[in-house]
Amino acid sequence: MAATGLIMLAYLLAHLLGNLKIFFGAGEFNAYAHWLHVIGEPFMHRDWVLWIVRVGLAASVVLHGVAAYQLSRRDLAARPQGYQHQRRRASYATRTMRWGGVILGLFVVWHLLDLTTLTVNENAEPGHPYENVVATFSTWYGNTIYITAMLALGFHIRHGFWSAAQTLGAGSPRRDRALKTAANALAAVLTCGFISIPIGVMTGVVS
């Protein structure tokens, strides 16, 4: 859980930095998108690095999901009979890890169909990533799906990052505050950063 979660988290930070180039115009963004195919050349063949990253990420998503499923099954089996007097427990982020994770998993599928394969993006043209992003965020459902998923992402990371630190034994009374602050900061930066793109398109800053 922790290792695959942190791999995905590292990817998201890189992905966000790359995506923010959209605010510097179509030229810069499309050039960046092109570079992703040729990273490592001439040592690496075209698309090799891209595929290595893709395989690593796909493995992380699958292993993270499988581990979550196994953990959840074990946890539910450990309390076959619940309490009659129910109380609201733990924070919102902590309680929504399972469903939040499922939402994120579905979002990843939609996101790939939308901006990688362009299957569900009606006005998309292959080879024009900047224009395709603008097309996505010109529909009400595109904005809704992305913004909802990014809010879910923020909550998932808020609990997940701190939780991963505990799992890996990095927590201590002295460091607890710093780890919680880091989790909140990462969640806020990623959520606000990614959401800035649909907002940019909606307000006409990106067009």
């Binding site: 074990r74 089996a77 309390r79 619940g82 109380r87 427990r89 902590t94 939780s163 799992t167 034994g169």
Partner: protein, 250 residues
């Protein structure tokens, strides 16, 4: 005070159970929660009914025998054991729900009594230090720095009541096990079994059917002795360290 109690009644391990309603009167704020139940039981016995079974021993908050979920909270609304919870935390006319610890690893024996021997098996698998028997060792033979002694003592406070398991949404025993592991692993006396202790205790914990930890923190909120949540992270660190060092040596 006049109170309505809704208590889980179950005649035996395999019998079905249900919440059963009772009225108690004449409860004074100075009574402990167990004394309030004693009064109910006296009335039940006099009227020819079966008294409510519950575990208790020291009644001073140090043995860990007592434990019940009161209004959805392990040991009730105060950070203490049920025997040290006083009726001044309730008001006249309240309805109070009383249930046993709920966990697959803690099967109900009768009413509010659960079988917590899974904890004993975890302790048996590594919660000890090996010492030569004979005369008492000289107190200064093994110096322990004060901060280390403080950490060990903070974790040694665990009385094994099981509130952490009862409160955890996953029925996990990580806080209990980690309190025991940290208590002994930080001390020089615990060093010879440092690796085998954490590996064996975690293995036993897993095999007893407790759930996994998702760091919800409910355990540390419920703990009457204030065992810190970071004990779990420390145990995870000890576990990874023991695995990297090639497993059991002790």
């Amino acid at each position: 005070m006049r109170l309505t109690l809704r208590i889980w009644r179950q005649r035996g391990p395999e019998e079905p159970g249900a919440m059963t309603e009772y009225q108690v009167d004449g409860i004074v704020p100075e009574m402990s929660f167990l004394e309030m139940l004693d009064q109910l039981n006296e009335h039940l016995i006099l009227s020819g009914e079966e008294p409510v079974a519950f575990d208790h021993d020291c009644r001073e908050g140090i043995c860990g025998a007592c434990g019940m979920v009161i209004n959805g909270q392990a040991h009730g609304p105060e950070r203490t054991t049920t025997c040290q919870l006083h009726m001044r935390h309730f008001s006249d006319g309240d309805t109070i729900d009383v249930e046993p610890w709920r966990a697959a690893a803690f099967p109900v024996v009768k009413d509010l009594v659960v079988d917590r021997s899974a904890f004993d098996r975890i302790i048996g698998s590594g919660g000890y230090v090996t010492v030569p028997t004979g005369s008492a060792p000289e107190a200064h033979a093994t110096p322990v720095p004060k901060p280390v002694a403080d950490t060990a003592f903070e974790h040694a406070e665990c009385i094994g009541c099981g509130a952490c398991v009862a409160a955890c949404p996953n029925g996990s025993a990580m806080l209990f096990t980690s309190a025991k592991v940290v208590h002994l692993n930080v001390l020089p006396q615990g060093a010879p079994e440092r690796e085998s202790r954490v590996l064996d205790m975690v293995e036993t914990m897993d095999s007893e059917g407790f759930g996994g930890c998702t760091n919800t923190g409910e355990c540390a909120v419920a703990c009457p002795k204030g065992i810190p949540l970071t004990a779990i992270s420390t145990m995870n660190r000890e576990f990874l360290r023991a695995q990297l060092r090639g497993g059991r040596k002790g």
